[in-house]
């Protein structure tokens, strides 16, 4: 499952970033925006590849680094990498104040990827909440590019309110590409005539073939937990449920220790895990 990533990291210099210019900042929802980066070094621009689910460490000198998953299309990079960021911390808030033409540092890509090859031929359930859709969008793009390689594809996505839904302008394209896109919100407003309820509840609406289905999930930890329950309850085995986890990260190389959970360094052994690897301690509080 863990493809060893191509790593745009200078191995002889700890935490050395490559510089990249912000080509575009696109506001997405309240407090969330996408920034597009273009490496200054043409050689890196040329060689940089990532897999769906991987992340980069973005560095703003004076503020520090933040681990941000890559949200753009892995196949169609045009020399650019996209990140959808929730501007909530020191580093990300400072990034939110930047503008096109500014330069920031980037290390990566790091971590494991969604098992796009391994799940070929299967029905794919993508269950996601809030900003958790960002690391899954590259997987969605991959499926759209290779639609015939997968069975039924169902995207269940939810946000707190209709205004918090990420990438609403792409849902129609995804539907047209053969993905059943199901959107739900926790709290509706006057603009909303769609489904209301939390993401795991949407599992009741669909008949999933447990022999064929895989689940890919990312979102708030509580949502992930219940998505897994719903998957397991439908006899989808833990070996076919994949989760992407988040922890504090400083290095991205399994060295600084922060992101550990049990025997794993989430930055190196994850962030994407097959659920059976986590089963033993996933429900242990505060572990």
């Amino acid at each position: 499952m863990t493809a060893l990533p191509h790593t745009a990291v200078n191995p002889d210099q700890l935490l050395y970033p490559y510089w990249a210019e912000i080509t575009q900042i696109k506001p997405e929802t309240e407090g969330v925006g996408s920034i597009w980066l273009r490496f200054e070094d043409p050689a890196i621009r040329e060689s940089y590849r990532f897999l769906p689910g991987q992340f980069n460490m973005l560095y703003l000198p004076g503020y520090g680094e933040a681990a941000i998953s890559i949200s753009s299309d892995p196949q169609d990079t045009k020399g650019m990498v996209g990140h959808t960021i929730r501007f909530v911390g020191n580093v990300t808030k400072a990034i939110s104040r930047l503008k096109a033409g500014d330069v920031i540092g980037l290390r990566g890509p790091f971590g494991s990827a969604w098992p796009m090859d391994e799940i070929e031929g299967r029905d794919v359930v993508i269950a996601s909440g809030g900003i958790g859709l960002a690391p899954l969008r590259p997987a969605i793009y991959h499926i759209l590019h290779n639609r015939q390689k997968y069975g039924k594809v169902l995207l269940i996505y939810g946000a707190r309110t209709p205004k918090d839904l990420l990438y609403p302008y792409e849902y129609e394209q995804w539907r047209a590409g053969g993905i059943d896109v199901q959107i739900t919100v926790d709290r509706a407003d006057e603009t909303w005539d769609g489904q209301v309820g939390v993401v795991p509840m949407l599992f009741y609406r669909f008949r999933l073939d447990h022999q064929k289905s895989v689940v890919l999930t990312c979102g708030p930890e509580i949502m992930i937990r219940f998505v897994i329950y719903e998957g397991l309850a439908r006899r989808i085995p833990a070996e076919r449920i994949y989760v992407s986890l988040e922890r504090n990260m400083k290095c991205g190389q399994g060295s600084c220790g922060h992101c550990q959970i049990g025997p794993y360094f989430i930055c190196k052994d994850g962030p994407v895990f097959r659920f059976d690897a986590l089963e033993k301690f996933f429900n242990v509080e505060e572990y």
Partner: protein, 372 residues
């Protein structure tokens, strides 16, 4: 004097010749670092000559207790060290990585300082094992820490067999001492008038060949062996490893975790004195105009609340959860990560815990509850 000391042979170096050995190391370009008395404790710092070492001292150690004791003996290596370990030299508590300057654009200047070449004088079995454990964390097949590697590759190790363990020692349980298990350039056993020295490397052989040494008699060798045997039975603590790591990794929800969580202050002392703890953070130090940023790597600890902070909260908000993380890592998950325990039985975490939490007792208590 003999002409050709060979690797793996043992020679006898009169104590009067030890300064020659230190001088030889300096001639080869090493900074000689060893134990010294300071502030009623022992630190590791520069030493020039044998008389810099803590001759005639021992240390009395127990949970939350360290007392340096002046005794009648004349030996130099009898005192079990204090809070410091060799970790601070290979994995410095604060390292300047690079400076980023903004002129037209960001420009990186690496820290061009030449990494120091150290000769460690007096590395105990537990401490050498700790260095080898950190090697596994910092010198992986897929990731080499350049700061650590530069210091480690230039390192000379003069190890010391431990003849008088302290009250918090349990290296015999961990299989790391009191006899040094290898990985040294030279390994010394201190007898009354001489140092018995095993030569472990070509470099060690070279250094010894610059000194006036003598053959090691069978009498001296058997005296050293007897001393080591006695030391193995003199451990202040014992830890049974039979059911580790599963005792910890399978029992994350025992009540005893709450109990120890009430005593632990989450002060991070144990992780700072631990010779294997490797967690670090990266920090930026910026001038007022935000034109120049100095990026540093500093030690961190799983006991710091910020350590596991992500937006939305702290993954380990309680002291209990942090202590559990530390212990289940050290003697649990570490095994799966690095094929070794993260503990060498040096006892520092017991001695330097301000409330005297003793991991050997905590493991025993967890075991008792798990078996109940």
């Amino acid at each position: 004097m003999l002409n050709n000391p060979t690797i793996n042979s043992t020679i006898s170096l009169p104590k009067t010749e030890f300064d020659t050995l230190l001088a030889a190391l300096r001639e080869l370009g090493y900074q000689t670092i060893g134990p010294r008395v300071r502030d009623e404790s022992i630190i590791y710092t520069h030493i020039e000559k044998l008389s810099d070492l803590p001759q005639g001292y021992t240390s009395k150690q127990g949970p939350a207790t360290f007392r340096l004791v002046k005794s009648n003996h004349r030996r130099y290596f009898d005192v079990i060290p204090g809070a410091q370990s060799w970790k601070q030299f290979l994995f410095p508590p604060r390292t300047h990585l690079f400076t980023v300057e903004k002129v037209e654009r960001w420009d990186i200047q690496p820290n061009a300082e030449k990494p120091p070449r150290y000769a460690f004088i007096g590395v105990r079995g537990c401490e050498l094992a700790a260095i080898e454990i950190q090697d596994r964390a910092f010198l992986r097949a897929d990731f080499h820490d350049p700061v650590y590697r530069a210091r480690r590759e230039g390192l000379f190790i003069l190890a010391v067999n431990c003849l008088h363990p302290a009250g918090t020692c349990f290296c015999a349980s961990m299989g790391t001492g009191p006899k040094v298990q290898g990985g040294y350039d030279l390994c010394l056993t201190e007898l009354e008038d001489t140092f018995l020295i095993e030569i472990g490397s070509e470099l060690g052989r070279d250094v010894i060949s610059r000194c006036q040494y003598e053959p090691a008699s069978g009498f001296l060798q058997s005296a050293a062996a007897k001393g080591l045997e006695r030391a193995a039975g003199d451990m202040g603590r014992h830890l049974s490893l039979d059911d580790l790591p599963s005792l910890l990794t399978d029992n994350l929800e025992l009540e005893h975790w709450d109990e120890v969580g009430k005593r632990c202050l989450s002060c991070a002392n144990c992780t700072q004195v631990c010779p294997t703890c490797f967690c670090w953070d990266a920090t930026d130090h910026t001038d007022l105009l935000a034109h120049s940023t100095r990026r540093e790597r500093v030690w961190d600890s799983c006991f710091n609340p910020q350590y596991s902070y992500v937006f939305g909260g702290n993954t380990r908000p309680t002291i209990k959860s942090r202590y559990r993380q530390w212990l289940t890592h050290k003697l649990g998950a570490w095994k799966e990560q690095y094929d070794t325990f993260g503990c060498t039985g040096c006892g520092r975490c017991i001695t330097w815990c301000p409330v005297g939490i003793d991991l050997t007792e905590e493991i025993a208590a967890l075991r008792k509850e798990a078996q109940a």
